[in-house]
Symmetry: D2
Subunit: 151 residues, 4 copies
């Protein structure tokens, strides 16, 4: 995906992104839906079904952090158009994730040949109204050459 | 849990922690297992079954961030012994999460009456060997008085 | 400052902010200049003189992190209008801080009665052109009641 | 420094590190002192003189973040032994920086050929007693090949 052809149409690009999501068993388990994708931008959604909740009826923080993790990675990967990995991120939870659906929107704020810095907002939708529930910022790194070894 | 009685035995404390995990549908979905719990310390594990993976066969970053999220919160909550919420955290992924099982160990490094700062290491266990795959640091806040309003 | 009167004029508010900056010896040492201040927003600048540089002629990362630290705190403090302290922040450096001047702009993205989450962009100005050199996100906390004790 | 000869004696290594600090005008302005340096480990200190303070008499948060910034970079650079740059870091302030001196100790927790993840503790020394005042975690990246261009 990340290294995808830059000449494809917007619809084909979105379809390619959906194939990537569909190939991630954990994204399927969580029920992630890709709603928009372009170079350096993604909108990823998750309907809040019961199995995603914690004891108080809100979506678990881990669902919100999953959304941030995946959305940041797609934003950086599509911006750089090379195979990437999420190097790190930081997330602030600002409101409980209450409602029918979570929407994560991430964008690449800066990118070069070796890394991208992306930001992500996660909104909870309740009765049709979006409320910010988390804010994230992270670094997406070009996958190191397989010939290089980590210690 | 977080506000639990401080006079309970270690076994009863662990049992109480397991009840909290069992009451979180998302933790059940992921298959989280509480292996150790004391004031300011937790060891939380997740066997890596297929549905937790991403397209390359590793555990998805969202599973690792779930572990950090939940472990940090328990470490802070048991240290402060009041109802808490995870305010924010930062995570660095240092190795792919490959293997049979993930182990998160979190501890409260500093805490006061209003917040705790905790760190968490996540290890992947492959062929019996633990390898560090992520490092996290976060802030756990005492739940604000329900009479206070957020804007 | 943070707990200042909300009825003051914009000019008086800015003047009050400048008094706070002038009362911080480290801000004076660095040469910080307050260019704009309103509730939840600040623009703080630093002319890059030689003593702020590192060995390669760029402004030292510590100058950039000082700007983020101070700007985030002012954005949160003026939004909440109570005495505050910077609880934590995260910063990504995206470009070397080269040029005549650094400009930090921070805003409160969300705030309640106990904390604010703010973001900050730091730009380097070279030959009149602004370029993003760092991106930060942090938590500003209401100063705990002095009767509460930290352990 | 970062790419220095790995065969040098501990004393020579420390002396090389002090030359780097002495070549950073901002480190000289702040009064940073290098007390220990080895591959993947550093202890950097700053005596708290009046110009480093904020309005309440504590060392300014920007001094603490400078220490974290520089210590993390040295820990990563000496671990990787190549020219590096601090990519990002996160810092939690847990206590006011009160006392005669600040001590930052940073270590490389994991490193490969392209990046290192390091942690740093900053202590304030008052009446001879060290108290933790901040906790940081960051990513140090190998300097990109000059032939690669950032956009």
């Amino acid at each position: 995906m990340s290294g995808g052809d830059q000449q494809v149409s917007p619809d084909a690009f979105l379809a390619m992104g959906r194939e990537v999501i569909a190939s991630q068993p954990f994204s399927v388990l969580i029920g992630a839906e890709l709603h928009a994708l372009s170079r350096g931008y993604i909108e990823l959604q998750v309907p809040i079904f019961d199995k995603l909740k914690q004891q108080d009826g809100f979506a678990h923080g881990g669902v919100v952090s999953y959304l941030a993790d995946n959305a940041l990675t797609f934003a950086g990967g599509t911006a750089m158009a090379v195979p990437v990995v999420l190097s790190e991120f930081k997330i602030n939870y600002v409101r409980p994730a209450i409602g029918e659906r979570l929407i994560a929107r991430a964008r690449a704020v800066h990118f070069g040949s070796s890394q991208a810095v992306c930001t992500c907002e996660v909104f909870a939708v309740q009765d049709g109204e979006e409320k910010l529930c988390a804010l994230a910022q992270g670094t997406i790194a070009r996958l190191p050459d397989p010939s290089q070894k980590s210690t």
